[in-house]
Symmetry: C2
Subunit: 209 residues, 2 copies
DNA sequence: GTCTATATACGGATAGAC
DNA sequence: GTCTATCCGTATATAGAC
């Protein structure tokens, strides 16, 4: 280790700037953030951004990449666990997502907006394009199909439904809270309830179709 | 009528620029679009944008407002129809949304991104903050509650679920299609299936909780 | 490493010819 | 109404002092 590298309060300047940039980019998106905003948020001078990261774009790419990788890695452990059943995995995944989203409510719209603008550039570097991406959960699903106990609807619908029911509320949260007048705390309480409800609902969906 | 005003191919320059702006804004968002992009997309000169609309911001506000109003008006007819039951309304709403989203897949992420950045400015002008906003569907719901036939889960969950299952697939479409490799046609066919499936699923959810 | 000052480019907007 | 040329503020990036 060439420098003192912490991630806590007395982190390096580089780390502090990166963290400040993460907050601003996630809040405003790439185009709407000015390097000045990042400088201000970090408490350091404008020029240090270029000193450490060369350019706004490189800094952004770095953050986006880290953000997505973090996300993927955390999910990998769950979908690859040979000790849990398929149903358990789904329940755990939902709970895990909701915890993460309560902490990072801006993440989904950030990632999905930026991917829409940049259709190819980043998704390709995600790492689960590789032929090795064949997690245990896929095996378990195939077994269900072989045993004839899989649902009759196109399984894509079920994947879409789990993600929709889990992620969308956070994307619509600003509009939703504005309309209903409920507080952030009340909203988060609703999301907490959904940890139990979504798995039940999804189980019900499997019987349909 | 002071000028010839069409909305078809030989529309006025003003209308053409507005339509070009709509396309570009919806695709890239406010911050990432340059007035030069709009000029190019419209086939007209840069200065005409300011000639007709004074500024980029005014043009954007106009489009955003029209977009949202269009959306609300189209929904009002459905939720205020005294001739349909509550269940029918939900089914019709879902079908209506999906049709609209197939035609304007960029709309949800556009509206939700811009609202997130601009928490108050526009939502307040929406028009359904008024005390007159008490559509027939609310009455029907209240009757259900009085009769004791309403579901036991917090009804907010059901509203969230309908919107999630309907809208989210379109938001995630770029990522989803990229990952699965399915074409836009196949995707739209999936969404067509959901017109029938979502009402069934939602009905099932009401029994839970 | 961190700051101040500055170069350079870009984007929104306007003046003025036609 | 539509174009060309241009102005001017702002944002990124760098040079150079400390």
């Amino acid at each position: 280790m060439e420098e003192t590298q912490h991630t806590d309060l007395n982190a390096s300047t580089e780390a502090k700037i990166k963290e400040a940039a993460r907050r601003v980019f996630l809040k405003k998106g790439y185009a709407a953030t000015r390097t000045r905003d990042i400088a201000e948020e970090s408490g350091f001078n404008l020029s240090l951004i270029n000193y450490y990261f060369r350019s706004k774009e490189k800094l952004f790419d770095l953050i986006m990449l880290e953000q997505i990788q973090l996300f993927i890695i955390s999910v990998m452990g769950i979908v690859n666990d040979p000790l849990t059943t398929l149903e358990e995995k789904i329940t755990i995944l939902i709970s895990h997502y909701i915890d993460m989203l309560v902490k990072n409510p801006d993440l989904p719209i950030f990632v999905l907006s930026e991917i829409k603008e940049n259709p190819e550039s980043l998704v390709s570097r995600l790492g689960f394009d590789s032929p090795h991406f064949n997690p245990f959960i896929v095996k378990q699903w195939k077994e269900k199909v072989m045993a004839g106990t899989a649902p009759k609807v196109n399984p894509m619908h079920l994947v879409i439904n789990v993600l929709s029911l889990t992620i969308f509320p956070f994307i619509a949260s600003p509009l939703f809270r504005n309309r209903t007048g409920i507080s952030l705390d009340e909203f988060n309480k609703l999301m907490e309830e959904r940890k139990k409800l979504i798995p039940i609902w999804v189980k019900g969906m499997m019987a349909v179709g």
